[in-house]
Each structure stands twice: as C-alpha cells, then as structure tokens.
C-alpha cells in the first residue's frame, strides 16, 4: 500500500476539503491505486536530466507598466458571496485574543 487512510485524511485537511468518512473510505483506495500507478516514473533512469516545468522556454516575460482600464470595484465585487463597504466580507480569519 502506498498511502494509508490516515494519510489521505491529512491530505484532505491540507487541501481544505472537509470530506465525510464515507468519502474518505471511497477515495483512499482509489488514491492508493493511482499513486502506485504513477510511481512508474521512478523506473526512469534520469540522472543528470534537467526538469521541464513548461515547454516554451520563455522566461521572465514582462510588459510595460502602463496605466490601462481595469475592473471597477463594482465589477470586481459582482460575484462576491458577501460585500460590505466596497470590500469582500469574509468570516473570521484569526482566532480571538485570549
């Protein structure tokens, strides 16, 4: 076995996915099967082979920093679940001071 149910539960927490026990029971063996299959890449002798992160070879693409039209606050907030004072309203982020 390449990954345990506890490890899958940990991955779900890292991934910010509040999965039910049933989902974990279902996903854990599937992930185990997939990870076993993709581990095949480790067979390849790749000593000294540079990694490729993307294929174009482009690096550090910049454009001129010129003012241009952009979204209005109303447009930027148009899909927000909650808005207050022209800002995204979100639930509490930090725990309360002791």
């Amino acid at each position: 076995m390449s990954i345990t149910r506890d490890e899958v539960a940990h991955l779900a927490r890292l991934s910010r996915l509040a999965l039910s026990d049933e989902e974990l029971d279902h996903l854990a063996p599937q992930l185990d099967q997939i990870i076993s299959a993709v581990a095949q890449v480790q067979e390849v002798a790749a000593e000294g082979i540079p990694p490729t992160s993307h294929a174009t070879g482009l690096t550090n693409v910049f454009r001129d920093d010129e003012p241009a039209p952009c979204l209005t606050p109303e447009q930027a907030l148009s899909g927000a679940p909650e808005v207050e004072l022209q800002r995204f309203k979100v639930p509490r982020i930090l725990a309360e001071e002791p």
Binding site: L14, V41, P91, R92
Partner: protein, 497 residues
C-alpha cells in the same frame, strides 16, 4: 434536417457573403436544431439565444453597410464553458462556480466577437476540464450523437457533441491531456490542439497552466483551420503566449498534400493491446498516406510509455495550486459556518466533484515535502525525456501519426468510478501536451466491433501547426472519396427514435 445546419462554416460564410442567406437565418436554424435535439444530447449548459439573434442582426447590418467582414462573420460557434464571457454564465462544469457571471471576457471569445462570429452558447464539460467523458460535469453528462448511450469524450465533450449533432458548425475547446482530440475522435469530427502558447489562455479558467491549450473543433479540416486562425496569435495578457506569426493553417487546409512527406508511425502506439477495430482503421489510414505518396517509417519513442504517469503527477500538481482560488471568499459558492478556514473546507467539499477532489489531493501529495523529488521532480524529468524523444523523431520525419484514442466511445457509466480506466483514454494524446507540440485528430472510419468513429492523430513540432492541416486535408479528401460521403452522414444516434 434544415440545409443550413448541414453546411460547413466555409459554405455558410460564402453563402452569406453572396447574399443568399442572412446571418439571422443561419443563427435561427441552429437555435432550432438545439431546441429539437439538445434535450437528448445535452451538449449545452447555456444557450445564448437572444444575444445570438442580436449579434446576427448586427452582422447583417454591417454587411449591408458594405463593411469588410472576415470568414467567421455570422457563423455560429459553441464555446466550452471555461472561457469567460460577459453576459453569459461561466461554470467550468462545476457547482462551485454555480451561476457565476464573469466581469471580464477571454481574449479568444473577444477575438471571435470582433470577427463577427455568433457565440451561440456554452457547452458542457468535465468539471475543470478533468476527465474524458463529461461524466465529471456537475450538471450531468452529455451524450454521443452516434449512440446516445455512449460518452462524447471529454473534457470538451459538449463542444464535440454540439458540432457532431449539427447544433453549431464550429466549437471552442481546450486540450490539457487530450481534451480536444479525444472527444473529436470519438464523435467523428476534427479537433486540433495548437502549439502551446499559440492560443491565449487569458480568461480560460486554469486547470494545469503549463499544459492548457485552447483550440478549435469542426466538422471539416478547413472549418477547423478557419477557427484556428481567428482564435490564435500573440496576447500580451498571457505571459506564456508566443510572440510569433500564426502558422498558415487555412492555406494548408486548402492544399492537402502528403507527396514526399516523411511520416513516422510511433511504434509504442501501434500493435496489440488496443481495440482491434481502432487499430484496423489506423493501419488503413497509414496505407492511405503511403498511397498518396508519403514516405512512412516506424519511429520508436521509448519514453512515451511514461507520459501517462508523468502527466498524472504534473497536471494534478498544477491543479492543486490553481484550484486553491476556489475558496468561497470572493466569488462562487460559499457554504458552512465558523472560521474562514472552516468555510473554505466546507465550500470546497460541497462544490467540487469526486474527480476534482482526487486530483487536488493527488497534486497536494506529489508536491508535499518528502515526496516532491520522487514524484513531481521525477515527472518533470520524464517531461524532458519526452521532448527529447520528439526532437529525435522530428529529426527523421516531418510528422508523427498514431490512433487518437485506444478505443471508440465507451458506455456512459462504464468508467465513471474507475479513475485509472478513464485516464487510459488519453494514452496517445498526452505526450503532445507534455512537449507543447501541435496535434490534430481527423476521422479515419468506423470500428467494425461497434460502428463508432475512430480518429487519426497527426503530431507536428511546435509552431508547425500548418503541417497538421496539410496532412489532415489530404486524408479527409481521400477518405471522403472512398466513402462517397463525409463520415458524419453515418451517425444515426439522433435519427433512431
């Protein structure tokens, strides 16, 4: 069927330019077709009927005023529902985006609008483009017009089904591991994955940014090239966009010719182990190319067998990062209570489907400390080796060929909860994505076992997209002559009722 819906985009364009038919008539005919058959095909998530009619009237007015109009003016185009479009929802096939109406327009749809194309609606897809059947859509699967009990492929399955069912002559898709070529192949139409960076990703909801490539689907090679040309070209809004001229794809599609062309058959993607009827059609297509004057040789690409495992590390890794933005804070679904973190976890659990969750967790695993070198790092090295295989091959031949898919369309439900079986649908298409090359799928006949279409895949080096069309146009013309009609005339899924 109304004659207007069976005409190609090129024919419609010529008829409109000649004044034989109006853009309003063309749009209405396609809206009628959607109303008549889409309750069975379920290709569209949103039909923009009123907007399409208004735009068509605009095109007619511009034409009447004598304005010069391009080849896509008045031609309906179906749009995969991951291109952001103002005035239409963009769901990406996911409940987490619900009825999100984006505040900005993708570069490609804007180019189509500027060209006078009629964006007729948004098509169904596997959620966040992860899948090969549309069964991972949060809104139910689309159906294959050849046989409604079969999948139309994916992830651009709604787009392929819409074109194959004559609801639009053209459609936009995206290809990350085969998501244009595989649905095109199993729906019996043409689909191209352009060179990575040849088509803009601005306003295309991200899945795996180093792989995602928007591209065209059409019923003919020429139509597909017409859309390819209009959608392509450098975009300063996409920093990975290539600043080079668009390859002359339309010119190539008008002059199909393989005489003297050096064609390599990929050894690893031929032979036993795949559906016999698909391999039989592939072998015939290779014989056809030889009879048309191509010089065919066999070429081994020894690392292609590692492409699938490498892809299922690289794509999920990028996805786990890209999809972190769906957090219930700024747009889309929000559910749950408590802290922001609790709300995020509850929202993502409720909004994402099973395959997206699998891939996010797989990517999180591959990128986590302790596993990074053995998984993601190794996959990146395999990516280099696959590029080297392609470089060596293109030193000897002009294009490579293989079947587009290992099998024809499979039954809806068969692989829905078997991820590894589903992943195999992209076995032949993935190397091109990892290397950033261009490839096309063009119909090459029906498999004997099930009477369903198979596709011939042609692969070319980066920025040699025109070669694909030169080969595909020759194949299309020769097969149409042999068959006596286009392959799609055999599609009976919608007539048998």
């Amino acid at each position: 069927m109304d004659e207007l819906i069976t005409m190609t985009a090129a024919e419609l364009s010529a008829a409109m330019a000649a004044g034989d038919v109006s853009a309003a008539d063309v749009t209405e005919a396609h809206l009628d077709r959607i109303a008549a058959v889409d309750d069975r095909v379920k290709a569209f998530l949103h039909v923009a009927a009123d907007d399409a009619r208004a735009r068509a009237r605009e095109v007619d007015a511009r034409r009447k005023a004598g304005e010069p109009l391009g080849p896509l003016a008045g031609v309906p185009v179906a749009v995969k529902d991951l291109f952001t479009t103002i005035g239409m929802p963009t769901t990406c096939g996911s409940k987490i985006l619900g009825d999100w109406h984006p505040p900005y327009e993708s570069t490609i749809t804007q180019r189509l609008r500027n060209a006078g194309a009629i964006l007729i609606g948004k098509t169904n897809m596997d959620e966040f483009a992860m899948g090969s059947s549309t069964e991972n859509s949060g809104f139910g699967p689309s159906h294959n017009p050849w046989d409604l009990a079969k999948v139309p492929g994916g992830s651009s399955g709604g787009s392929a089904a819409a074109v194959a069912a004559h609801m639009a002559p053209l459609a936009l898709g995206t290809d990350t591991g085969g998501s244009i070529r595989q649905p095109a192949a199993v729906c019996g139409i043409v689909g191209t994955k352009p060179t990575y960076g040849g088509s803009s990703r601005y306003g295309v909801v991200a899945f795996a940014s180093s792989l995602d490539t928007p591209g065209p689907l059409g019923r003919t090679v020429l139509d597909t090239a017409l859309l390819h040309e209009v959608m392509s070209g450098h975009d300063p809004m996409d920093s990975t966009s290539i600043n080079a001229p668009v390859p002359p794809v339309v010119e190539a599609a008008r002059h199909g010719d393989v005489a003297g062309l050096r064609i390599g058959v990929v050894t690893e993607f031929a032979g036993d182990g795949y559906q016999p009827g698909v391999m039989a059609r592939f072998t015939e297509a290779v014989e056809l190319l030889e009879s048309l004057g191509a010089k065919v040789t066999e070429i081994s690409c020894p690392h292609f067998k590692y492409a699938l495992p490498a892809y299922y590390l690289i794509a999920p890794s990028e996805a786990s990062s890209n999809l972190a933005r769906f957090d219930g804070m700024r747009y889309g679904l929000r559910t749950g209570s408590g802290s922001a973190e609790d709300v995020m976890a509850a929202t993502r659990a409720a909004g994402f489907g099973a395959e997206v969750k699998r891939r996010i967790m797989l990517g999180t695993y591959a990128l986590s400390s302790g596993y990074y070198d053995a998984y993601y790092g190794k996959a990146q090295q395999v990516r280099t080796l696959i590029i080297q295989d392609f470089d060596a091959a293109f030193g000897q031949v002009d294009v490579l060929v293989s079947p587009a898919t290992p099998t024809t369309a499979f039954p809806i439900g068969e692989r829905a909860d078997d991820p590894m079986a589903m992943y195999l649908a992209d076995l032949f298409t993935i190397p091109t994505d990892l290397a950033g090359n261009a490839a096309i799928s063009v119909p090459c006949g029906l498999a004997d076992e099930d009477g369903l279409p198979a596709g011939l895949q042609v692969m070319a080096p980066p920025l040699a997209d025109d070669r694909l069309y030169r080969v595909a146009a020759a194949v299309e013309a020769a097969f149409n002559e042999r068959w006596g009609h286009p392959l799609l005339a055999d599609a009976k899924g919608l007539s048998a009722r």
